[in-house]
Protein backbone atom coordinates (compact mmCIF):
# COMPACT_ATOMS: atom_id res chain seq x y z
CA UNK A 1 0.00 0.00 0.00
CA UNK A 2 1.62 3.21 -1.07
CA UNK A 3 0.99 6.33 0.92
CA UNK A 4 3.01 8.74 -1.17
CA UNK A 5 0.12 10.96 -2.17
CA UNK A 6 -0.77 11.92 1.40
CA UNK A 7 -0.20 15.66 1.85
CA UNK A 8 2.18 16.63 4.61
CA UNK A 9 3.71 13.17 4.87
CA UNK A 10 7.05 13.29 6.63
CA UNK A 11 7.89 9.65 7.09
CA UNK A 12 6.40 6.18 6.80
CA UNK A 13 7.35 3.52 9.33
CA UNK A 14 6.53 -0.13 9.25
CA UNK A 15 6.86 -2.15 12.42
CA UNK A 16 5.17 -5.30 13.76
CA UNK A 17 2.94 -5.44 10.71
CA UNK A 18 1.56 -1.92 11.19
CA UNK A 19 2.06 1.18 9.08
CA UNK A 20 2.60 4.50 10.77
CA UNK A 21 2.44 7.71 8.73
CA UNK A 22 4.16 10.63 10.38
CA UNK A 23 2.43 13.76 9.18
CA UNK A 24 3.19 17.45 9.59
CA UNK A 25 0.74 18.80 12.20
CA UNK A 26 -0.01 21.89 10.14
CA UNK A 27 -1.48 19.79 7.34
CA UNK A 28 -3.33 17.16 9.29
CA UNK A 29 -6.76 18.15 8.03
CA UNK A 30 -5.65 17.88 4.40
CA UNK A 31 -3.97 14.57 5.09
CA UNK A 32 -7.01 13.13 6.80
CA UNK A 33 -9.35 14.30 4.07
CA UNK A 34 -7.06 12.68 1.53
CA UNK A 35 -6.99 9.46 3.51
CA UNK A 36 -10.74 9.34 3.83
CA UNK A 37 -11.67 10.33 0.29
CA UNK A 38 -8.87 8.98 -1.88
CA UNK A 39 -7.70 6.00 0.10
CA UNK A 40 -11.03 5.07 1.67
CA UNK A 41 -10.21 5.07 5.39
CA UNK A 42 -13.72 5.77 6.49
CA UNK A 43 -13.64 4.77 10.15
CA UNK A 44 -11.66 6.57 12.80
CA UNK A 45 -11.09 4.15 15.61
CA UNK A 46 -9.17 6.09 18.15
CA UNK A 47 -7.16 9.24 18.82
CA UNK A 48 -4.43 8.62 21.35
CA UNK A 49 -2.21 11.25 22.85
CA UNK A 50 1.07 10.17 24.42
CA UNK A 51 3.36 12.21 26.60
CA UNK A 52 7.05 11.41 26.21
CA UNK A 53 8.38 13.56 29.01
CA UNK A 54 11.15 11.64 30.68
CA UNK A 55 11.53 9.14 27.84
CA UNK A 56 14.87 7.43 28.10
CA UNK A 57 15.80 8.98 31.44
CA UNK A 58 15.73 5.69 33.26
CA UNK A 59 18.28 3.58 31.45
CA UNK A 60 16.60 0.32 30.59
CA UNK A 61 18.64 -2.71 29.87
CA UNK A 62 17.78 -5.50 27.54
CA UNK A 63 18.19 -8.34 30.00
CA UNK A 64 14.80 -9.74 29.16
CA UNK A 65 14.03 -7.87 26.04
CA UNK A 66 14.94 -8.87 22.52
CA UNK A 67 17.03 -5.81 21.58
CA UNK A 68 17.58 -7.54 18.30
CA UNK A 69 19.99 -10.00 19.86
CA UNK A 70 17.73 -12.60 21.32
CA UNK A 71 14.82 -14.68 20.15
CA UNK A 72 12.31 -15.18 22.90
CA UNK A 73 11.19 -18.47 21.44
CA UNK A 74 14.74 -19.75 21.42
CA UNK A 75 15.73 -19.18 25.00
CA UNK A 76 19.49 -19.76 24.90
CA UNK A 77 20.44 -16.57 23.07
CA UNK A 78 21.45 -13.57 25.16
CA UNK A 79 20.34 -9.95 24.96
CA UNK A 80 22.35 -6.77 25.31
CA UNK A 81 21.92 -3.29 26.69
CA UNK A 82 19.83 -0.83 24.78
CA UNK A 83 18.31 2.58 25.43
CA UNK A 84 15.13 3.66 23.70
CA UNK A 85 15.29 5.83 20.61
CA UNK A 86 14.82 9.49 21.44
CA UNK A 87 11.54 11.06 20.31
CA UNK A 88 11.39 14.30 18.28
CA UNK A 89 8.96 16.20 20.49
CA UNK A 90 7.13 15.87 23.75
CA UNK A 91 3.68 14.79 22.60
CA UNK A 92 2.56 12.40 19.95
CA UNK A 93 -0.97 12.19 18.67
CA UNK A 94 -1.90 8.94 16.94
CA UNK A 95 -5.00 8.53 14.83
CA UNK A 96 -5.92 4.89 14.24
CA UNK A 97 -7.81 4.52 10.99
CA UNK A 98 -9.65 1.62 9.48
CA UNK A 99 -10.97 1.02 6.02
CA UNK A 100 -14.29 -0.80 6.29
CA UNK A 101 -14.49 -2.39 2.89
CA UNK A 102 -13.66 -5.66 1.23
CA UNK A 103 -10.02 -4.66 0.89
CA UNK A 104 -9.75 -3.64 4.51
CA UNK A 105 -6.66 -1.93 5.83
CA UNK A 106 -5.41 -0.19 8.90
CA UNK A 107 -3.07 2.73 9.27
CA UNK A 108 -1.86 4.97 12.03
CA UNK A 109 -1.35 8.68 11.44
CA UNK A 110 1.06 10.20 13.89
CA UNK A 111 1.76 13.83 14.70
CA UNK A 112 4.51 15.19 16.88
CA UNK A 113 3.69 18.24 18.96
CA UNK A 114 5.19 20.54 21.51
CA UNK A 115 3.45 21.52 24.69
CA UNK A 116 0.54 23.80 23.85
CA UNK A 117 0.91 23.51 20.09
CA UNK A 118 -2.61 23.49 18.65
CA UNK A 119 -3.81 20.94 16.11
CA UNK A 120 -6.64 21.32 13.65
CA UNK A 121 -9.65 19.31 14.60
CA UNK A 122 -10.68 16.50 12.24
CA UNK A 123 -14.33 16.60 13.25
CA UNK A 124 -15.34 17.72 9.73
CA UNK A 125 -13.73 14.56 8.37
CA UNK A 126 -14.90 11.97 10.92
CA UNK A 127 -17.63 13.18 13.31
CA UNK A 128 -16.59 10.55 15.81
CA UNK A 129 -13.44 12.55 16.52
CA UNK A 130 -15.52 14.90 18.64
CA UNK A 131 -15.26 13.04 21.92
CA UNK A 132 -11.81 11.60 21.20
CA UNK A 133 -10.41 15.08 20.81
CA UNK A 134 -12.20 16.28 23.89
CA UNK A 135 -10.64 13.44 25.81
CA UNK A 136 -7.17 14.26 24.45
CA UNK A 137 -7.68 17.86 25.52
CA UNK A 138 -8.97 16.86 28.94
CA UNK A 139 -6.33 14.27 29.69
CA UNK A 140 -3.27 15.65 27.91
CA UNK A 141 -3.95 19.28 27.28
CA UNK A 142 -3.61 19.24 23.51
CA UNK A 143 -5.67 22.12 22.15
CA UNK A 144 -7.70 21.47 19.03
CA UNK A 145 -8.49 24.39 16.77
CA UNK A 146 -11.86 24.46 15.20
CA UNK A 147 -13.37 21.93 17.52
CA UNK A 148 -17.01 22.89 18.03
CA UNK A 149 -17.21 21.90 21.68
CA UNK A 150 -13.81 21.73 23.35
CA UNK A 151 -14.69 21.17 27.00
CA UNK A 152 -13.60 18.71 29.60
CA UNK A 153 -15.14 15.32 29.11
CA UNK A 154 -14.06 12.88 31.79
CA UNK A 155 -12.97 15.15 34.60
CA UNK A 156 -15.05 17.76 36.39
CA UNK A 157 -15.60 20.97 34.45
CA UNK A 158 -13.54 22.99 36.87
CA UNK A 159 -10.69 20.51 37.21
CA UNK A 160 -7.21 21.97 36.97
CA UNK A 161 -4.43 20.21 35.22
CA UNK A 162 -4.30 17.45 32.67
CA UNK A 163 -4.16 14.15 34.50
CA UNK A 164 -2.45 11.86 32.01
CA UNK A 165 0.62 14.03 31.62
CA UNK A 166 3.78 12.62 33.07
CA UNK A 167 4.31 15.59 35.36
CA UNK A 168 0.86 15.20 36.89
CA UNK A 169 1.05 13.08 40.04
CA UNK A 170 -0.83 9.82 40.32
CA UNK A 171 -2.61 11.14 43.35
CA UNK A 172 -4.48 9.00 45.79
CA UNK A 173 -3.81 8.56 49.47
CA UNK A 174 -0.85 7.05 51.22
CA UNK A 175 -1.86 3.70 52.66
CA UNK A 176 -1.65 3.36 56.41
CA UNK A 177 -0.37 -0.03 57.38
CA UNK A 178 -0.37 0.39 61.12
CA UNK A 179 -2.01 2.48 63.77
CA UNK A 180 1.08 4.45 64.63
CA UNK A 181 1.33 6.69 61.59
Amino acid sequence: MSYEGVPGLVETREALGESTLVVDPARVLEACTHLRDELGFNLLLDITATDYLGWGDAGVSGYYGTGGGRDLNDPMTQGYERTPEPKPKRFSLSYHLLRVADDHARVRVQLWLDDGQPVESVVPVWPTADWHEREAWDMMGIPFEGHPNLRRLLMDDDWEGHPLRKDYPLGGEPVRFSEEE
Partner: protein, 420 residues
Protein backbone atom coordinates in the same frame (compact mmCIF):
# COMPACT_ATOMS: atom_id res chain seq x y z
CA UNK B 1 -52.44 -5.23 13.65
CA UNK B 2 -51.94 -2.29 11.32
CA UNK B 3 -49.59 -0.63 13.80
CA UNK B 4 -46.95 -3.31 13.43
CA UNK B 5 -46.72 -2.84 9.69
CA UNK B 6 -45.92 0.83 10.07
CA UNK B 7 -42.21 0.50 10.75
CA UNK B 8 -40.09 3.50 10.00
CA UNK B 9 -37.46 2.68 7.44
CA UNK B 10 -33.89 3.70 7.99
CA UNK B 11 -33.23 7.10 6.50
CA UNK B 12 -30.91 7.75 3.61
CA UNK B 13 -27.98 10.03 3.84
CA UNK B 14 -26.76 11.49 7.05
CA UNK B 15 -28.51 13.12 9.92
CA UNK B 16 -25.61 13.67 12.25
CA UNK B 17 -26.31 16.86 14.19
CA UNK B 18 -24.29 19.88 13.19
CA UNK B 19 -22.12 21.63 14.28
CA UNK B 20 -21.45 19.35 17.23
CA UNK B 21 -21.92 15.71 16.23
CA UNK B 22 -22.62 14.46 19.70
CA UNK B 23 -24.98 17.15 20.89
CA UNK B 24 -28.47 17.53 19.56
CA UNK B 25 -29.20 21.22 19.81
CA UNK B 26 -32.71 22.35 20.02
CA UNK B 27 -34.22 24.74 17.61
CA UNK B 28 -34.01 28.13 19.39
CA UNK B 29 -37.36 29.25 18.06
CA UNK B 30 -39.17 26.40 19.74
CA UNK B 31 -41.15 27.44 22.77
CA UNK B 32 -42.31 25.47 25.73
CA UNK B 33 -39.26 23.28 26.04
CA UNK B 34 -38.53 21.46 29.28
CA UNK B 35 -34.97 20.52 30.17
CA UNK B 36 -34.82 17.26 32.07
CA UNK B 37 -31.74 15.78 33.65
CA UNK B 38 -31.48 12.01 33.36
CA UNK B 39 -28.99 12.15 36.15
CA UNK B 40 -26.11 9.81 36.77
CA UNK B 41 -28.28 7.81 39.10
CA UNK B 42 -31.34 6.65 37.26
CA UNK B 43 -33.57 3.61 37.06
CA UNK B 44 -32.05 2.26 33.86
CA UNK B 45 -29.39 -0.20 34.56
CA UNK B 46 -26.62 0.74 32.21
CA UNK B 47 -24.60 2.73 34.68
CA UNK B 48 -23.77 6.28 35.44
CA UNK B 49 -24.62 8.10 32.26
CA UNK B 50 -26.03 11.57 32.48
CA UNK B 51 -28.23 12.84 29.68
CA UNK B 52 -29.46 16.40 29.60
CA UNK B 53 -32.54 16.18 27.48
CA UNK B 54 -34.70 18.97 26.12
CA UNK B 55 -38.28 17.91 25.73
CA UNK B 56 -41.00 19.53 23.73
CA UNK B 57 -44.02 17.70 25.04
CA UNK B 58 -42.78 14.14 24.82
CA UNK B 59 -40.43 14.63 21.90
CA UNK B 60 -36.73 14.84 22.36
CA UNK B 61 -35.48 18.02 20.74
CA UNK B 62 -32.16 18.39 22.45
CA UNK B 63 -29.69 15.93 23.90
CA UNK B 64 -26.31 16.25 25.55
CA UNK B 65 -24.53 13.36 27.17
CA UNK B 66 -22.24 14.00 30.12
CA UNK B 67 -19.86 11.22 31.05
CA UNK B 68 -16.96 10.87 33.40
CA UNK B 69 -18.84 9.72 36.47
CA UNK B 70 -16.94 6.46 36.47
CA UNK B 71 -13.56 7.73 35.33
CA UNK B 72 -11.09 5.50 37.09
CA UNK B 73 -7.77 6.58 35.66
CA UNK B 74 -6.93 3.09 34.39
CA UNK B 75 -4.38 4.34 31.95
CA UNK B 76 -2.42 6.35 34.44
CA UNK B 77 -2.58 3.60 37.05
CA UNK B 78 -1.35 1.03 34.57
CA UNK B 79 1.73 3.14 33.88
CA UNK B 80 2.82 2.50 37.44
CA UNK B 81 2.48 -1.27 37.42
CA UNK B 82 4.62 -3.89 35.77
CA UNK B 83 3.36 -5.63 32.65
CA UNK B 84 2.40 -8.74 34.58
CA UNK B 85 0.58 -6.90 37.33
CA UNK B 86 -1.33 -4.84 34.80
CA UNK B 87 -3.43 -7.80 33.71
CA UNK B 88 -5.91 -7.27 36.52
CA UNK B 89 -6.74 -3.73 35.40
CA UNK B 90 -8.08 -4.05 31.86
CA UNK B 91 -10.76 -6.53 32.79
CA UNK B 92 -12.43 -3.99 35.00
CA UNK B 93 -12.75 -1.53 32.16
CA UNK B 94 -15.58 -3.24 30.34
CA UNK B 95 -16.88 -5.11 33.32
CA UNK B 96 -19.65 -6.96 31.51
CA UNK B 97 -17.56 -8.73 28.88
CA UNK B 98 -14.45 -8.74 30.96
CA UNK B 99 -12.41 -11.37 29.13
CA UNK B 100 -12.10 -9.20 26.05
CA UNK B 101 -10.16 -6.44 27.65
CA UNK B 102 -7.79 -8.98 29.14
CA UNK B 103 -7.50 -10.63 25.77
CA UNK B 104 -6.68 -7.47 23.90
CA UNK B 105 -4.09 -6.36 26.43
CA UNK B 106 -2.41 -9.74 26.51
CA UNK B 107 -2.40 -10.02 22.72
CA UNK B 108 -0.82 -6.59 22.46
CA UNK B 109 1.95 -7.41 24.92
CA UNK B 110 2.62 -10.70 23.17
CA UNK B 111 2.81 -8.91 19.84
CA UNK B 112 5.41 -6.53 21.24
CA UNK B 113 7.36 -9.41 22.73
CA UNK B 114 7.07 -11.56 19.66
CA UNK B 115 6.07 -14.43 21.92
CA UNK B 116 4.60 -17.62 20.51
CA UNK B 117 1.91 -19.15 22.62
CA UNK B 118 0.84 -22.80 22.65
CA UNK B 119 -2.21 -23.72 20.62
CA UNK B 120 -4.08 -24.95 23.66
CA UNK B 121 -3.95 -21.44 25.04
CA UNK B 122 -5.19 -20.03 21.75
CA UNK B 123 -8.19 -22.32 21.59
CA UNK B 124 -8.98 -21.88 25.26
CA UNK B 125 -8.81 -18.12 24.86
CA UNK B 126 -11.25 -18.39 22.02
CA UNK B 127 -13.58 -20.51 24.09
CA UNK B 128 -13.65 -18.12 27.00
CA UNK B 129 -13.94 -15.09 24.76
CA UNK B 130 -17.04 -16.55 23.21
CA UNK B 131 -18.41 -17.38 26.65
CA UNK B 132 -17.77 -13.78 27.60
CA UNK B 133 -19.67 -12.67 24.51
CA UNK B 134 -22.62 -14.85 25.53
CA UNK B 135 -22.42 -13.43 29.04
CA UNK B 136 -22.38 -9.88 27.76
CA UNK B 137 -25.33 -10.40 25.45
CA UNK B 138 -27.29 -12.07 28.23
CA UNK B 139 -26.73 -9.09 30.50
CA UNK B 140 -27.62 -6.76 27.64
CA UNK B 141 -30.82 -8.60 26.88
CA UNK B 142 -31.86 -8.91 30.49
CA UNK B 143 -31.26 -5.29 31.34
CA UNK B 144 -32.46 -3.62 28.19
CA UNK B 145 -35.63 -5.69 28.15
CA UNK B 146 -36.09 -4.72 31.79
CA UNK B 147 -35.78 -1.06 30.90
CA UNK B 148 -38.33 -1.32 28.13
CA UNK B 149 -40.71 -3.12 30.41
CA UNK B 150 -40.29 -6.84 29.63
CA UNK B 151 -39.30 -7.37 33.21
CA UNK B 152 -39.40 -11.15 33.25
CA UNK B 153 -36.59 -11.36 30.68
CA UNK B 154 -34.22 -10.29 33.43
CA UNK B 155 -34.74 -13.50 35.36
CA UNK B 156 -34.59 -15.70 32.28
CA UNK B 157 -31.33 -14.22 31.08
CA UNK B 158 -29.65 -14.15 34.45
CA UNK B 159 -30.47 -17.80 34.95
CA UNK B 160 -28.25 -18.66 31.99
CA UNK B 161 -25.74 -16.05 32.99
CA UNK B 162 -25.19 -17.91 36.23
CA UNK B 163 -24.37 -21.02 34.18
CA UNK B 164 -21.72 -19.10 32.25
CA UNK B 165 -20.24 -17.75 35.44
CA UNK B 166 -20.14 -21.26 36.87
CA UNK B 167 -17.92 -22.23 33.95
CA UNK B 168 -15.61 -19.32 34.65
CA UNK B 169 -15.51 -20.24 38.28
CA UNK B 170 -14.53 -23.75 37.42
CA UNK B 171 -11.37 -22.69 35.61
CA UNK B 172 -10.32 -19.58 37.41
CA UNK B 173 -11.79 -19.77 40.85
CA UNK B 174 -13.84 -16.62 40.61
CA UNK B 175 -16.99 -15.70 38.75
CA UNK B 176 -16.07 -12.32 37.36
CA UNK B 177 -12.73 -10.66 36.64
CA UNK B 178 -10.93 -13.91 36.33
CA UNK B 179 -7.45 -12.68 35.23
CA UNK B 180 -7.36 -16.02 33.43
CA UNK B 181 -5.51 -14.78 30.35
CA UNK B 182 -1.86 -14.11 31.07
CA UNK B 183 0.99 -12.96 28.90
CA UNK B 184 2.06 -16.22 27.30
CA UNK B 185 -1.13 -18.21 27.64
CA UNK B 186 -3.47 -19.07 30.44
CA UNK B 187 -3.02 -18.79 34.17
CA UNK B 188 -3.97 -22.38 34.92
CA UNK B 189 -4.81 -25.55 33.13
CA UNK B 190 -8.38 -26.44 32.29
CA UNK B 191 -9.70 -29.03 34.76
CA UNK B 192 -11.02 -32.25 33.25
CA UNK B 193 -14.61 -32.01 34.46
CA UNK B 194 -14.93 -28.71 32.65
CA UNK B 195 -15.64 -30.15 29.22
CA UNK B 196 -18.69 -32.08 30.36
CA UNK B 197 -20.14 -29.05 32.08
CA UNK B 198 -19.41 -26.90 29.08
CA UNK B 199 -21.13 -29.35 26.77
CA UNK B 200 -24.16 -29.42 29.05
CA UNK B 201 -24.23 -25.64 28.89
CA UNK B 202 -23.95 -25.64 25.12
CA UNK B 203 -26.87 -28.01 24.93
CA UNK B 204 -28.92 -25.76 27.17
CA UNK B 205 -28.04 -22.47 25.51
CA UNK B 206 -29.83 -22.83 22.15
CA UNK B 207 -32.96 -23.92 24.00
CA UNK B 208 -32.67 -20.85 26.18
CA UNK B 209 -32.27 -18.57 23.18
CA UNK B 210 -35.34 -20.20 21.66
CA UNK B 211 -37.18 -19.31 24.85
CA UNK B 212 -36.11 -15.67 24.65
CA UNK B 213 -37.15 -15.39 21.06
CA UNK B 214 -40.46 -17.05 21.80
CA UNK B 215 -41.14 -14.45 24.46
CA UNK B 216 -40.07 -11.39 22.51
CA UNK B 217 -40.05 -11.85 18.78
CA UNK B 218 -43.78 -11.96 18.21
CA UNK B 219 -44.77 -9.87 21.18
CA UNK B 220 -46.76 -6.89 19.91
CA UNK B 221 -45.55 -4.56 22.60
CA UNK B 222 -41.92 -5.43 22.09
CA UNK B 223 -42.22 -5.01 18.34
CA UNK B 224 -43.92 -1.66 18.64
CA UNK B 225 -41.40 -0.38 21.09
CA UNK B 226 -38.35 -1.50 19.20
CA UNK B 227 -39.05 -1.44 15.49
CA UNK B 228 -38.35 1.81 13.75
CA UNK B 229 -36.84 3.27 16.90
CA UNK B 230 -33.31 4.56 17.23
CA UNK B 231 -32.52 4.58 13.54
CA UNK B 232 -28.93 4.74 12.39
CA UNK B 233 -27.98 4.44 8.76
CA UNK B 234 -24.88 2.60 7.60
CA UNK B 235 -23.17 5.78 6.44
CA UNK B 236 -23.75 7.46 9.77
CA UNK B 237 -22.65 4.41 11.68
CA UNK B 238 -19.28 4.36 9.96
CA UNK B 239 -18.86 8.11 10.28
CA UNK B 240 -19.59 7.85 13.99
CA UNK B 241 -17.05 5.10 14.52
CA UNK B 242 -19.50 2.32 15.35
CA UNK B 243 -18.29 -1.25 15.21
CA UNK B 244 -19.71 -4.55 16.33
CA UNK B 245 -23.42 -5.28 16.65
CA UNK B 246 -24.38 -1.63 16.21
CA UNK B 247 -22.67 -1.56 12.83
CA UNK B 248 -23.94 -4.95 11.77
CA UNK B 249 -27.51 -3.98 12.59
CA UNK B 250 -27.17 -1.05 10.21
CA UNK B 251 -26.30 -3.33 7.35
CA UNK B 252 -22.52 -3.25 7.20
CA UNK B 253 -20.98 -6.70 7.14
CA UNK B 254 -17.92 -6.08 9.26
CA UNK B 255 -16.67 -8.54 11.83
CA UNK B 256 -13.03 -8.70 12.83
CA UNK B 257 -13.28 -12.38 13.46
CA UNK B 258 -13.98 -12.88 9.76
CA UNK B 259 -11.99 -10.09 8.20
CA UNK B 260 -8.80 -10.09 10.25
CA UNK B 261 -8.89 -13.40 12.08
CA UNK B 262 -6.98 -13.46 15.31
CA UNK B 263 -6.59 -16.43 17.66
CA UNK B 264 -7.99 -19.36 15.64
CA UNK B 265 -11.19 -17.88 14.25
CA UNK B 266 -10.29 -18.88 10.72
CA UNK B 267 -10.50 -22.52 11.78
CA UNK B 268 -14.01 -22.50 13.17
CA UNK B 269 -17.28 -22.21 11.36
CA UNK B 270 -19.76 -19.60 12.32
CA UNK B 271 -22.10 -17.15 10.68
CA UNK B 272 -21.98 -13.39 11.09
CA UNK B 273 -25.51 -12.00 11.45
CA UNK B 274 -26.18 -8.78 9.55
CA UNK B 275 -29.49 -6.94 9.48
CA UNK B 276 -30.40 -3.83 7.57
CA UNK B 277 -33.02 -2.05 9.62
CA UNK B 278 -30.67 0.01 11.77
CA UNK B 279 -33.15 0.13 14.63
CA UNK B 280 -33.35 -1.23 18.14
CA UNK B 281 -35.05 -4.40 16.99
CA UNK B 282 -32.29 -5.25 14.58
CA UNK B 283 -29.61 -4.67 17.20
CA UNK B 284 -31.51 -7.04 19.43
CA UNK B 285 -31.71 -9.60 16.62
CA UNK B 286 -28.00 -9.33 15.91
CA UNK B 287 -27.11 -10.00 19.51
CA UNK B 288 -29.49 -12.90 19.90
CA UNK B 289 -28.15 -14.50 16.73
CA UNK B 290 -24.63 -13.94 17.95
CA UNK B 291 -25.45 -15.88 21.07
CA UNK B 292 -26.34 -18.87 18.95
CA UNK B 293 -23.24 -18.54 16.83
CA UNK B 294 -21.05 -18.21 19.90
CA UNK B 295 -22.47 -21.44 21.25
CA UNK B 296 -21.48 -23.16 18.02
CA UNK B 297 -17.97 -21.81 18.31
CA UNK B 298 -17.76 -22.98 21.92
CA UNK B 299 -18.74 -26.51 20.89
CA UNK B 300 -16.05 -26.56 18.23
CA UNK B 301 -13.48 -25.28 20.70
CA UNK B 302 -14.40 -27.95 23.23
CA UNK B 303 -13.94 -30.63 20.59
CA UNK B 304 -10.48 -29.36 19.70
CA UNK B 305 -9.44 -28.80 23.28
CA UNK B 306 -10.31 -32.31 24.33
CA UNK B 307 -7.76 -33.58 21.85
CA UNK B 308 -5.15 -31.30 23.41
CA UNK B 309 -5.49 -32.64 26.90
CA UNK B 310 -2.09 -32.66 28.57
CA UNK B 311 -0.51 -30.03 26.36
CA UNK B 312 1.10 -26.94 27.86
CA UNK B 313 -1.22 -24.04 28.51
CA UNK B 314 1.36 -21.29 28.80
CA UNK B 315 4.51 -20.45 26.92
CA UNK B 316 7.79 -21.85 28.00
CA UNK B 317 9.93 -18.77 28.20
CA UNK B 318 10.78 -18.42 31.86
CA UNK B 319 11.97 -14.89 31.47
CA UNK B 320 8.44 -13.77 30.74
CA UNK B 321 6.19 -16.39 32.20
CA UNK B 322 6.15 -17.48 35.80
CA UNK B 323 7.55 -20.96 36.30
CA UNK B 324 5.22 -23.66 37.65
CA UNK B 325 5.11 -23.72 41.41
CA UNK B 326 6.47 -27.24 41.79
CA UNK B 327 9.72 -26.18 40.22
CA UNK B 328 10.31 -23.44 42.72
CA UNK B 329 11.24 -25.98 45.35
CA UNK B 330 13.92 -27.66 43.31
CA UNK B 331 15.34 -25.30 40.72
CA UNK B 332 17.38 -22.24 41.65
CA UNK B 333 16.94 -20.63 38.25
CA UNK B 334 13.19 -20.91 38.49
CA UNK B 335 13.28 -19.23 41.86
CA UNK B 336 15.34 -16.37 40.49
CA UNK B 337 13.12 -15.97 37.47
CA UNK B 338 10.03 -15.99 39.63
CA UNK B 339 11.55 -13.38 41.90
CA UNK B 340 12.65 -11.12 39.06
CA UNK B 341 9.35 -11.33 37.24
CA UNK B 342 7.25 -10.61 40.29
CA UNK B 343 9.34 -7.83 41.75
CA UNK B 344 10.99 -6.09 38.84
CA UNK B 345 8.92 -7.43 36.01
CA UNK B 346 9.90 -8.68 32.62
CA UNK B 347 10.97 -6.10 30.08
CA UNK B 348 9.16 -5.68 26.82
CA UNK B 349 11.08 -4.41 23.79
CA UNK B 350 10.60 -0.84 22.72
CA UNK B 351 7.83 -0.17 20.29
CA UNK B 352 4.21 0.71 19.88
CA UNK B 353 1.44 -1.58 18.86
CA UNK B 354 -2.31 -1.47 18.37
CA UNK B 355 -4.34 -4.64 18.58
CA UNK B 356 -8.06 -4.80 17.99
CA UNK B 357 -10.42 -7.66 18.75
CA UNK B 358 -14.11 -8.11 18.14
CA UNK B 359 -15.57 -7.78 21.59
CA UNK B 360 -19.23 -8.08 22.41
CA UNK B 361 -19.67 -4.34 21.94
CA UNK B 362 -17.52 -3.70 18.92
CA UNK B 363 -13.87 -3.34 18.23
CA UNK B 364 -12.00 -3.23 21.47
CA UNK B 365 -8.46 -2.09 21.00
CA UNK B 366 -5.31 -1.66 23.00
CA UNK B 367 -2.56 0.74 22.03
CA UNK B 368 0.62 0.09 23.96
CA UNK B 369 3.83 2.06 23.94
CA UNK B 370 6.80 0.45 25.53
CA UNK B 371 10.15 2.06 26.28
CA UNK B 372 11.84 -1.28 26.77
CA UNK B 373 11.21 -1.21 30.46
CA UNK B 374 9.22 -3.23 32.93
CA UNK B 375 6.23 -0.93 32.94
CA UNK B 376 3.99 0.29 30.12
CA UNK B 377 4.82 3.80 29.01
CA UNK B 378 1.33 4.32 27.68
CA UNK B 379 -1.63 1.98 27.65
CA UNK B 380 -4.70 3.24 25.85
CA UNK B 381 -7.83 1.22 25.41
CA UNK B 382 -10.08 1.91 22.48
CA UNK B 383 -13.47 1.51 24.04
CA UNK B 384 -16.31 0.44 21.76
CA UNK B 385 -18.89 1.83 24.16
CA UNK B 386 -17.26 5.26 23.93
CA UNK B 387 -17.95 5.27 20.22
CA UNK B 388 -21.40 3.82 20.73
CA UNK B 389 -22.41 6.79 22.83
CA UNK B 390 -21.39 9.18 20.07
CA UNK B 391 -24.40 7.90 18.20
CA UNK B 392 -26.90 8.79 20.90
CA UNK B 393 -27.61 12.25 19.55
CA UNK B 394 -28.06 10.94 16.03
CA UNK B 395 -30.29 8.04 16.98
CA UNK B 396 -32.43 10.04 19.34
CA UNK B 397 -33.68 12.62 16.91
CA UNK B 398 -37.48 12.88 16.63
CA UNK B 399 -38.05 10.37 19.33
CA UNK B 400 -40.26 10.15 22.31
CA UNK B 401 -38.80 9.93 25.77
CA UNK B 402 -39.69 6.29 26.11
CA UNK B 403 -37.93 5.52 22.86
CA UNK B 404 -34.85 7.29 24.12
CA UNK B 405 -34.52 4.73 26.88
CA UNK B 406 -34.86 1.89 24.39
CA UNK B 407 -32.26 3.49 22.10
CA UNK B 408 -29.65 4.08 24.76
CA UNK B 409 -30.15 0.56 26.05
CA UNK B 410 -29.74 -0.92 22.60
CA UNK B 411 -26.45 0.86 21.97
CA UNK B 412 -25.17 -1.29 24.81
CA UNK B 413 -22.73 1.10 26.37
CA UNK B 414 -20.99 0.04 29.53
CA UNK B 415 -19.93 3.10 31.47
CA UNK B 416 -16.72 1.59 32.75
CA UNK B 417 -15.71 1.21 29.13
CA UNK B 418 -16.74 4.74 28.26
CA UNK B 419 -15.02 6.49 31.12
CA UNK B 420 -12.06 4.21 31.67
Amino acid sequence: MATIERRRAVYRGSRIPQPIPTVLQRDPTLEDVLTVNFGPNHPSTHGVLRLIVDLHGERVVGLDAVIGYLHTGFEKTMEQKTWWKCVTYPERIDYVSFQYNELVYVLAVEKLLGLRIPRKATWARMLFSELARIHSHLVYLGTSALEIGAISMFWYCFRERDLVLDLFEMVAGTRMHTRYFQVGGLAEDIPVGFYDEARAFCKRMPEAVDEYEAILNSNQIWLERTRGVGLLSAEDAIALGQTGPNLRASGVDWDLRRREPYLAYDQVEFRVPVYHGGDVFDRYKVRVDEMRESTKIVVQCIDRLEEMHGEPWIADDRKVVLPPREELHTSMESLIHHFKIVTEGFRVPEGEVYVGVESARGESGCYLVSDGGPKPWRAKFRAPSFAALHATATCAQDELVADLIATVGSLDAVMGDVDR
